[in-house]
């Protein structure tokens, strides 16, 4: 054994270095965030609970029932039921999201040509049964009113999903940001 190793063993040099490190850590701030009292900072655009955009003119969903979101969803958790409306046009009868399958990727928001579905910044919706976490149309619409009312809802799509639309506008033949023709 070399002299250095011998000195290390007799005087516990490495153990003392470890002790110095833990002692210094004793006086640093803990990194714990105590959940209900302190909450982690949520960045804008956080993908939380789903909400269906409420069409201000009809009061029902903006969704036309094209099914692009359901087709694009990796977990296949969107269920859309459409019927024939009064004037022969297609209306959405039921739009349901099975929340427990969702992976919160945001593909549905990206795919929707009419910006009719959004992911709000709400993440505090734990419940005790599977039924409570099966989002029906009414629940989804009310989410929009609760979490995206006012300016938030208006700016949401422009800020996060289609930021160039403000500068360039929508070309004539494109489906995006065209009013749905119902109002």
């Amino acid at each position: 054994m070399t002299v250095k190793e011998l000195v290390n063993k007799i005087f516990f040099i490495e153990i003392l270095k470890g002790l110095a490190l833990t002692l210094s850590r004793l006086f640093t701030h803990a990194v714990t965030i105590q959940y209900p009292k302190e909450k982690r900072l949520i960045r804008p655009g956080f993908r939380g609970q789903h909400a269906l955009v409420r069409d201000p003119d009809t009061g029902w969903v903006k969704c036309v029932g094209c099914g692009l979101c359901a087709a694009y969803c990796p977990s296949q958790c969107i269920y859309i039921f459409t019927t024939e409306g009064d004037d022969g046009k297609k209306i959405v009868e039921k739009y349901e999201v099975e929340l427990l399958r969702c992976i919160y990727c945001g593909f549905c928001v990206e795919a929707c040509p009419y910006s009719a579905i959004a992911l709000t910044e709400n993440y505090e919706y734990s419940d005790y049964s599977r039924d409570a976490l099966y989002m029906t149309t009414e629940k989804l619409l009310s989410n929009w009113d609760k979490f995206m009312s006012g300016k938030k809802g208006e700016e949401f799509f422009k800020k996060f999903w289609r930021p160039l639309s403000e500068d360039f506008g929508t070309p004539e033949g494109q489906a995006m940001f065209r009013k749905t023709g119902k109002g």
């Binding site: 153990i15 470890g18 833990t22 640093t28 701030h29 803990a30 990194v31 105590q34």
Partner: protein, 339 residues
């Protein structure tokens, strides 16, 4: 026997009973909060908070733990040796608690001022090993049995260097009486025996950590490997008894370290010469400070050092600590004779 002597005896017994009650209550409270502070200190050393929810900053956590353990179901393994199973935690706890009786907490306050105080504490810690072996055997479980064997072997192996390191203190103090040892430290020019007996002190600290089955020597009860070793089959209140016994053992070791090496309830004369106001502080405060420092060292080591493998553990005890402690005795004896 006149009435006078009878009254005298009755008063003495009364005072002793009150002393016992005070020491028991204070020791239990200390042990309960030792568990709380362990979690807090180790938590902060790992850059996280410890218990925070029960009471302000988690201060009522020990009571929550106690109530939980009290109400848990008492599971006894099938084919376990029942009388022995019931007896084991009691032996362990009683051996630890009895040692509290001979420790002088401050000038003049000992429940039992016996002239062989130090030897009594060794004897009681050896009896504690019975509790370990018996619990390992009576649990009728392979893990418990192996854990019990290993732990008992560890405890009795480390009692030897612990005793030998204290022989150096005995030589310098000239007595086994704990009060006399503290007084001898106050008289000596060093103030604390930790300074001339530094080698003995280090051996004592290592042996004390191994005696109480604490990290880095806690393989027999390794919480992540053997799931509590020899007391794995104990649940609810019996587990609480083992746990209490372990923490009281820690306090006993800390008290012996404070008394024999750090000066007990006194502070060295050379410090009171420089700062005379310190001599107005009551002795119990110094004693408690030294014990708390020792206990903090237990927690500090637990947060820092990984655990030793069992053969490394035994090798350290037999091959390193015993020769070092023996050399310390030889040197101390020579110095005492020749100087």
């Amino acid at each position: 026997m006149t009435i006078d002597t009878l009254i005298h005896i009755a008063i003495n017994i009364g005072i002793t009973i009150i002393n016992i009650a005070i020491v028991f209550a204070v020791a239990m409270l200390h042990v309960a909060y030792a568990t709380y502070f362990e979690r807090k200190v180790i938590g902060h050393m790992q850059v996280r908070l410890g218990p925070m929810r029960v009471g302000p900053h988690g201060l009522l956590q020990p009571f929550a733990d106690g109530i939980k353990l009290f109400f848990k179901e008492d599971v006894i393994p099938a084919n376990a040796d029942k009388p022995v199973f019931y007896l084991a935690p009691v032996i362990f706890l009683v051996a630890a608690l009895t040692s509290l009786a001979v420790i002088p907490y401050y000038q003049g306050f000992v429940i039992a001022d016996i002239n062989i105080g130090l030897l009594f504490i060794f004897a009681m810690s050896s009896l504690g090993a019975y509790g370990i072996i018996i619990s390992g055997w009576a649990s009728n479980s392979k893990y418990a049995f192996l854990g019990g064997l290993r732990s008992a072997a560890q405890v009795i192996s480390y009692e030897i260097p612990m005793g030998l390191s204290l022989v150096g203190v005995m030589i310098m103090a000239g007595s086994l009486n704990l009060t006399e040892i503290v007084n001898a430290q106050h008289e000596s020019p060093y103030g604390m025996f930790a300074i001339p007996q530094i080698v003995g002190f280090i051996v004592f600290v290592i042996a004390a950590i191994a005696e109480t089955n604490r990290t880095p020597f806690d393989l027999p009860e390794a919480e992540s490997e053997l799931v509590a070793g020899y007391f794995v089959e104990y649940s609810g209140f019996r587990f609480a008894l083992f746990f209490l016994g372990e923490y009281i053992g820690m306090f006993i070791m800390a008290s012996i370290g404070a008394i024999c090496f750090l000066g007990g309830w006194t502070i060295p004369k050379y410090i009171t010469d420089v700062l005379p106001f310190l001599s107005y502080v009551p002795g119990i405060v110094w004693f408690l400070l030294k014990v708390y420092a020792f206990i903090f060292f237990y927690y500090w080591i637990r947060a820092t050092v990984p655990r030793y493998r069992y053969d490394q553990l035994m090798a350290i005890g037999w091959k390193i600590l015993i020769p070092v402690a023996l050399a310390n005795i030889v040197v101390t004896g020579l110095v005492k004779i020749l100087l």
